[in-house]
């Protein structure tokens, strides 16, 4: 198992290198000058040249890349052009916010999807099935920013039950932090549950038609036992893959939701950094996201044998 994990991690190195090269050069292809953004409209040429030199942006691109890569390998992703803070610290600080929201939301969405998908497939073409499919389709079609604003207006403004502007770290007040995260988590849970539900339902429908399920029923097992012990483990594997992919891309930042609820998450950090051409932060965020994606998918792969013993980690 450890050898497998090591091999998988080793195989990601070329991917990360490609990501690094791509991100480094692509962000520099976008028009815009970080020095100009820092100094503002009307900055004179001498000041601009001075700031570029301060930031090391006056050196040839390959030299800049190699210097960045050399530091990145040692875990030093440089400093933010805008704030001057270390990029790795910024990423971890913002990732902590995103991770809490995403992990809780994806867990809740998975629980909802598994239950709803299983029941809908079990009662195929019934009113329950139609209701689940309808709800999942509506949820899939809802833009997350719109849903977020709607929930914000309802529970934040009209009812006044929940705070919705700002963020309190768990280290300051766990209760306050949890309250601030309720609306973003609910928004994300709803928007992500649609696709997971549809996937779970489709997988369950396939499994329910297999001979061993008929055999289990013929043995006289209760429907609950058939569903939980025989259908769920076999039907969950494809959904688990989707959960992994969803987790991977959401952990890279949920910029829209973070903007609506003013959460200082990784997505907002990345968007702000792109808009201010903060190259080190953009590079760091994307590299970090790639690592997260790889690790999450590795963890998901390692979970397969739990649900499907035919799959073994070799």
């Amino acid at each position: 198992m450890l050898g497998y994990i090591f091999k998988r991690l080793l195989s990601t190195l070329p991917t990360l290198l490609l990501v690094s090269v791509g991100v480094f050069f692509l962000i520099r292809l976008i028009p815009g000058d970080p020095a100009l953004v820092l100094l503002g409209e009307g900055a004179d040429a001498a000041s601009l040249a001075g700031v570029r030199a301060d930031l090391g942006l006056d050196r040839p691109l390959p030299v800049q890349f190699l210097a960045w890569l050399e530091h990145a390998v040692r875990g030093d992703l440089g400093r933010s052009i805008v704030s001057g803070e270390p990029v790795s610290g910024l990423i971890l600080e913002h990732f902590a916010v995103t991770a809490v929201v995403v992990l809780v939301a994806v867990t809740l969405a998975t629980l909802i999807a598994v239950t709803a998908g299983l029941v809908a497939a079990w009662r195929q073409d019934s009113a329950i099935d139609i209701a689940v499919i309808g709800a999942a389709t509506v949820v899939l079609a809802l833009p997350s920013f719109w849903l977020g604003l709607l929930l914000l207006l309802l529970f934040g403004v009209k009812l006044g039950w929940l705070p919705f502007i700002g963020y309190v770290p768990f280290s300051e007040s766990a209760v306050q932090a949890a309250l601030f995260l309720v609306l973003p988590v609910v928004t994300l849970t709803i928007t992500e549950s649609g696709v997971l539900t549809r996937m779970m339902r489709a997988s369950c429908l396939d499994v329910l038609q297999l001979d061993y399920v008929t055999h289990a029923r013929a043995k006289g097992l209760s429907e609950a036992t058939v569903l939980i012990r025989h259908v769920f483990p076999n039907a969950f594997a494809p959904t688990l893959t989707l959960v992994g992919l969803t987790l991977g891309h959401l952990l890279g930042g949920v910029a829209v939701i973070e903007t609506v609820f003013t959460l200082p998450g990784l997505g907002r950090l990345m968007v702000d950094s792109v808009l201010s051409r903060d190259y080190p932060v953009v590079q760091g965020c994307l590299l970090f996201t790639a690592v997260v994606y790889v690790v999450v998918n590795l963890l998901v792969d390692l979970c397969y044998p739990i649900f499907d013993p035919r799959v073994t980690a070799r």
Binding site: P31, G32, L39, G40, D54, E85, G160, F164, G166, L275
Partner: protein, 511 residues
């Protein structure tokens, strides 16, 4: 009961009771805490609550005393002598003396400080600073290489960080920046990036007497803490205001008032400001170098209709670089170009314009810039001008503006309190500053004369002439000046914007 005690104690002492926290919105985070260096409008606005310069801007845009109680100018106009106010102390408790003033001014003049206004004191600027010295503990003398009537105006500029006087402990031994130790009514508390900037009341602040005046007079902190919350999304900010999680939203666009206008629990304010929305024309472009084509485009633009549509009646149509709210905006500046589509067609025909596409660059950073581009495109099409809109994100837009790499561009300029600065946005040598659109010897000479002239009547004559020439030569079309729109909760007292468009939260309290 316990919470009431300090309030009562202050009230008995004759001091107005203070509210604990006033919360205002910022649509983006500060760029830095170093005044006049790494900056934008938000940065300038927040930092001017913390720092102050020798002089500042009055309500009408003229220059008034701030940390200097008075000043004198030598007969040849080259030597400025500032007498400092002895009662002023820095946030670290140190008294303000000439030593800190000399240190601050000399720091700004070092290239490595990256002071935005350093070029104004360079070889192509208004004058070079030859010496800054303390003649006694409370007197500072600045010697220039030539007379420069714009010297004090430049020191007071918000984008120059008001040439803030800082305590040397604001930087490390190697000169790197730590945090501003200024003399303002508030001191920097906690700055949590992309979340909030907290300013704390400075209890030993020495306010100038009298009512609130620009960014100099009557600067009383009426709250214990100012908290600028970074809320990029306007819908979320409006919801927070309605809910009571926010007290002040400043600098809204007219369309953003939808849904909250008319509410009894909110106060609305609209103050004309000295900004400027403009259609820039690249006079070196193969098509637009022909003044006839530029004139034809200008003749199609109905500034009054455009302003009404875009600002929803809150802005003022204006074709002069001098904003309508400026005291220098007189009859010559008030002339609006008469729309004449038929004449535009004839001019275009005579010029040989063949309907080829002309690129019009804009940005969505400011919704009014994008809206203006759309309206201009429609208006120009009536005369057969084929404008193609290209929408860029802000850094790309800024880069194209700075390098002059465009044909037409909708641009908005932040308020300039003096007309020389307003005309300076357009006039200049394109070889050195490609962003300038008006590069004629006559315009440069007139602007140069205006910067060297102290006589108000002569200056007005020059500005009138420049305004008329601007209409004639069409290096750009000024469209309108907007209003600063604010919404505050009913419990907020004393909130009043002014034409400089900076947030001003001293003198503001909560009931």
């Amino acid at each position: 009961m316990l919470a009431c005690v300090p309030v009562r104690a202050r009230a008995e002492a004759g001091e107005p009771p203070r509210a604990p926290i006033l919360r205002a919105r910022l649509n983006s985070d500060l760029v830095s805490s170093d005044p006049g260096t790494r900056r934008d409008e938000n940065t300038d606005g927040v930092l001017l609550h913390i720092v102050e310069g020798l002089v500042g801007s009055r309500e009408d845009g003229s220059v008034g005393p701030m940390l200097a109680s008075r000043w004198s100018i030598s007969p040849d106009g080259r030597v400025y002598t500032f007498a400092l106010r002895p009662e002023v102390v820095f946030h670290n408790g140190a008294p303000l003396t000439a030593a800190e003033v000399v240190w601050s001014l000399q720091r700004y003049l070092k290239p490595e400080t990256r002071w935005r206004c350093l070029e104004v004191f360079g070889s192509h600027g208004i004058a070079r600073v030859l010496a800054v010295k303390a003649t006694d503990a409370h007197t500072v003398e600045v010697t220039l290489d030539r007379a420069a009537p714009m010297f004090l105006t430049t020191l007071a500029r918000a984008d120059c960080g008001a040439t803030a006087i800082l305590h040397p402990d604001s930087v490390r031994a190697d000169g790197s920046w730590i945090a501003p130790i200024g003399t303002g009514p508030f001191q920097l508390g906690e700055w949590r990036h992309n979340q909030f900037v907290q300013l704390k009341r400075f209890p030993r602040y020495a306010a100038l007497p009298g009512p609130r005046d620009g960014n100099i007079g009557g600067k009383h902190a009426l709250v214990d803490e100012l908290r600028f919350l970074v809320i990029p999304d306007t819908s979320a900010a409006r919801a927070a205001l309605v809910r009571g999680s926010l007290d002040v939203i400043d600098n809204l666009y007219p369309a953003e008032l939808m849904g909250i206008r008319g509410r009894q629990d909110l106060q609305f304010q609209s103050v004309p400001i000295l900004d400027c929305y403009t259609l820039l024309m690249q006079t070196r472009d193969p098509v637009l170098r022909d003044v006839r084509i530029r004139t034809a485009i200008a003749l199609t633009i109905d500034a009054t209709a455009l302003t009404k549509a875009i600002t929803r009646g809150t802005g003022t149509a204006n074709n002069s670089p001098i904003p309508a709210a400026s005291p220098f905006h007189r009859a010559a500046e008030a002339q609006l170009r008469t729309v004449d589509v038929e004449k535009a067609r004839q001019i275009l025909k005579a010029s040989g314009y063949d309907g080829r596409p002309i690129q019009l660059i804009t940005s969505r950073r400011d919704p009014q810039m994008f809206d203006a581009a759309v309206v201009i495109q429609a208006m120009a099409a009536r005369a057969g001008v084929n404008l193609q809109i290209d929408t860029l994100d802000w850094p790309a837009h800024l880069a194209r503006y700075t390098t002059g790499d465009y044909q037409l561009m909708v641009e908005s300029f932040s308020p300039r309190l003096d007309p020389t600065l307003s005309f300076g946005l357009f006039i200049g040598d394109k070889r050195q500053e490609p962003r300038k659109t008006w590069d004629t010897p006559r315009a440069r000479e007139l602007l140069d004369e205006a910067t060297r002239t102290a006589d108000p009547a002569r200056r007005q004559t020059i500005f009138d002439q420049l305004s008329l020439d601007f209409l004639e030569e069409v290096p750009a079309v000024v469209l309108f000046n907007s209003a600063r729109l604010s919404v505050v909760r009913a419990a907020v007292t004393g909130h009043q914007n002014w034409m400089s468009a900076q947030p001003r939260l001293w003198g503001v309290g909560l009931r």
